[in-house]
């Protein structure tokens, strides 16, 4: 039944593609949110939870399409070129800001190719290590890695990944360059951390929460401004020895440039509602994150975030000299 509905929705979406957007009656058909990563990952999960809830409010199916590749920039490029009618949206994380520096030949101009709907969530990161790694707190960790900078290895899930960005920021903050070990995705990186093949990693709570709870890895700090409800005993990086060290994998919802403001406003309202949905809050909590506030789930807040983050990451990436093209 549901497959049939989804199929019909898809067919309707194709056949009505040329229909003009009318802001008053929006939405009249299925909305597609493009996730620029493969299905099953953290961004995909966040999107599906929000899309499900937004469908109820908008009275139309909001379906998720995965267009992975090139660190998310392929999917973003697709949306940049899509019809600005509010029926094709993009949910992209912090990569939207970092790719502006990491990629020197993007097919779109990050700041001028999109309209903004709002921030969705900011997933905190955790600084973790293999479970038998010597240091027991963040201060100890910093001393240890400075003293053993030739042998300590930092895992990440590939260039542009959250773990790569956070690792880069960490090394930048402690002023010490360590050996980075890139992997193709979080899965293999986490496997090697569990197996003790690499020493430390900084990754999203979506990936580390269960491992920390299971005692298979050691956690030193969270990178959010406040402690997390699920880990009340885990200090923030600021508290534990790295003042001002805050990294969050923020997710934003975008529309192609030229989408009417009535449409983005309608989407913002719907997003804000979805972020108050109990199911969404509960699921987010299990992933160690929480929905963005109503004030953040607005076009203006997302625009400001994107601009400030591009400015913040540019020097860090340039200092590391690691580009993705």
């Amino acid at each position: 039944m549901t497959i049939l509905k989804a199929l019909l929705g898809a067919v309707a979406a194709v056949s009505l593609f040329s229909a003009p957007a009318s802001a008053q009656t929006y939405p009249e058909r299925t909305i597609t949110v493009i996730v620029p990563f493969s299905a099953g990952g953290p961004t995909d999960t966040v999107t599906r939870l929000v899309a499900e809830s937004m469908s109820k409010d908008l009275g139309q199916q909001v379906i998720v399409e995965n267009v992975g590749g090139a660190g998310g920039t392929l999917g973003a490029g697709r949306v940049a070129q899509a019809e600005p009618d509010g029926y094709t949206l993009l949910l992209y994380h912090i990569g939207m800001a970092t790719s502006a520096t990491l990629y020197r030949n993007l097919a779109y101009d990050t700041l001028n190719a999109f309209e903004y709907v709002g921030l969705v969530t900011e997933v905190p990161m955790t600084i973790v290590a293999r479970k038998d790694f010597e240091p027991n707190d963040l201060k100890g960790l910093i001393e240890y890695v400075k003293a053993n900078k030739d042998t300590v290895t930092v895992a990440n899930a590939g260039i542009g990944a959250a773990s790569h960005l956070c690792g880069m920021m960490f090394m930048n903050a402690i002023g010490t360059q360590l050996t980075t070990v890139p992997y193709k995705g979080t899965g293999p990186a986490m496997t090697d951390l569990l197996g003790g093949q690499v020493d430390i990693m900084c990754d999203q709570t979506t990936n580390t929460t269960k491992q920390i709870q299971g005692g298979t890895i050691k956690a030193y700090a969270v990178t959010s401004p406040k402690r997390l409800k699920i880990f009340p005993d885990l200090p923030t990086a600021s508290e534990a020895g790295l003042p001002g060290f805050e990294v969050g994998i923020w997710h934003g919802l975008y529309a192609p440039k030229g989408t009417p403001p009535e449409v983005t406003d309608r989407l913002s309202k719907s997003l804000q509602k979805a972020l108050k949905d109990e199911n969404v809050i509960a699921r987010f909590a299990e992933l160690g994150t929480e929905p963005s506030s109503e004030a953040d789930a607005t076009p203006a807040a997302l625009k400001a975030k994107l601009e400030s983050e591009i400015a913040r990451w540019k020097p860090v990436i340039e200092a590391a000299g690691e580009y993705a093209d």
Binding site: T2, I63, G69, A70, I159, Q197, K210, G214
Partner: protein, 501 residues
């Protein structure tokens, strides 16, 4: 006894009418999807994810798991019938399975694949149930150096995949390795051989390549002359394996099960090797190696069992660590998270119903597959009787849809067309596509792990010999190499080659 009560809980969960129904839907859908060329489990599960919102967690995961092994199974069907493997493991089945089909023994090949898969699935399910935690510990011992050495064993063995000239097989492996280099270098972020096309930044799509060099090339070859086509269609004789077949499939199934179960546990691409490794072993120890590549029963039974056993045991890292072994597993994790279950090392303790329910449903699903598919063989074989002017366009259409659906990337379709022509050219040159595909799959893993091992050892190459598991694997590779180039064996190989001409 813990295990008994756990399994009892699992079977009680999986055998509830609703879950049985979802398991059935899953395997049916999976088989169907698998039979459609080019459309794999990943695309299907991604499309069905939204549906799982409405279901109970256990039911939805049972259904998704059903799709996974159903598709694995269905993929072998297309590999055998139309030489169109949907994934790396069925590429091996295509070698001898398709030859059996051309000899009019498509039914027997399908039945052998079904029975082998079922046996292997049963054994592997019990392995998962009994030994999951200790096996996980072994898997975690595998670091970059070990994976590198494992891939070396795989590459060295790949020569056995060829049934013609060794030189050509090596050339194909090398070509595959080169094609595997396309994409972004994960260590420096530099795009390699992408021709400036951003869409190839993540490399060539495996399904696109496989559909091209196997399927499209085969279609082109078939269109060459009216005669070969008629031969294929007219001679569908025995639907069931003969007594002799049963005798010859028994040992390969047992060996395939062992190989597949062992390699499936390794999350970093071990399962990919299972079918290839089994084929190599079967060919080496067979008393009739000249049959391989011409429809050898063991060449279907062994790899199919290995493939299915690997598919089951690859659930181990997911169930015990919450870490996906392949893209399908990553999707299953996504589905669990949407349901509010974040998989991790404690999932067995926190969600015993879910954990044991899935394990029990694996066996039930395998049983359903064999019960469903044995009677369906007649129907599948009839597919071959569909006139080519209907069948070929349908195959092309479905495989294009399938390839496109993976990443919604048009350049993947260009790759299918291009590699279709390349595959046809290779056929004309009597070069075989299977070693190429193996090189393509193993190349990136080989490079990635070699460089990672060197980074971790701080540039010290002795790491490959001082780590015991790695050293053992390299020793195995050396032995295989010696066997391949032993004069006696070589003479035998050449004899085979001459016969073929």
């Amino acid at each position: 006894m813990d295990l008994v009560s756990n399994l009892a809980l699992g079977f009680a969960t999986a055998a509830s009418p609703a879950n049985l129904l979802f398991c059935l839907i899953g395997v049916l859908l999976g088989t169907l999807i698998g039979v459609l060329p080019g459309i794999g489990a990943t695309a299907t599960i991604a499309m069905l994810l939204p549906i799982t919102f409405q279901l109970e967690p256990v039911s939805s995961l049972i259904m998704l798991a059903g799709i996974y092994y159903g598709a694995q199974y269905g993929g072998s069907t297309t590999a055998i019938l139309i030489n169109m493997p949907g994934e790396s493991s069925s590429a091996v089945t295509a070698i001898d399975g398709y030859q059996m089909a051309r000899n009019g023994r498509a039914g027997a090949a399908l039945a052998i694949a079904a029975l082998g898969s079922f046996f292997a699935g049963t054994v592997a399910t019990f392995l998962v149930a009994i030994f999951a935690p200790p096996l996980t510990a072994i898997a975690l011992e595998f670091g970059a150096a070990e994976y590198f050495s494992l891939m070396i064993v795989g590459l060295v063995s790949s020569v056995a995949l060829a049934h013609g000239s060794i030189v050509k097989a090596l050339a194909m492996v090398a070509l595959g390795l080169l094609l595997g280099l396309v994409g972004t270098d994960i260590y420096t972020g530099t795009p390699r051989f992408t021709l400036g096309i951003r869409e190839y930044a993540d490399g060539l799509n495996f399904v696109g390549l496989a559909v091209g060099v196997f399927g499209i090339a085969e279609i082109l070859r078939n269109l060459e002359s009216e005669k070969t086509r008629e031969v294929l269609m007219a001679r569908v004789t025995d639907l069931m394996p003969s007594r002799d077949d049963f005798k010859r499939m028994l040992a390969p199934i047992l060996r395939g099960t062992v190989i597949g179960s062992a390699l499936g546990i390794l999350p970093g691409g071990g399962a990919i090797l299972a079918a290839f490794a089994s084929y190599t072993v079967e060919k080496r120890i067979s008393d009739r190696p000249q049959d391989f590549g011409r429809g050898a029963v063991a060449g279907v039974a062994g790899p199919e069992s290995a493939n299915n056993a690997g598919a089951q045991t690859s659930f181990i890292p997911l169930l015990t660590l919450g870490i996906p072994a392949n893209p399908v597993m990553a999707l299953m994790i996504g589905a669990m998270i949407i349901q509010g279950i974040v998989p991790g090392p404690n999932v067995a303790a926190e969600q015993p119903r879910l954990f044991w329910g899935i394990i029990a449903s694996m066996w039930i699903g395998n049983l359903m597959l064999v019960v469903l598919n044995l009677p369906l063989i007649g129907l599948w074989v009839k597919l071959l009787k569909v006139p080519y002017f209907i069948l070929f366009p349908i195959i092309m259409a479905f495989s294009s849809v399938g390839v496109y659906s993976v990443n919604a990337n048009v350049y993947d379709l260009y790759a299918v067309a291009f590699f279709g022509l390349v595959g046809y050219l290779l056929l004309k040159l009597r070069c075989e596509p299977a070693p190429l595909l193996l090189g393509f799959v193993l190349g990136p893993l080989l490079e990635e792990n070699l460089r990672r091992a060197m980074i971790l050892s701080r540039g010290d190459p002795t790491t490959f010999f001082t780590r015991p598991i790695s050293a053992t694997l390299l020793a195995i590779a050396a032995v295989v190499l010696v066997v391949v180039f032993l004069p006696a064996v070589k003479a035998k190989r050449e004899e085979v080659f001459v016969e073929e001409d």
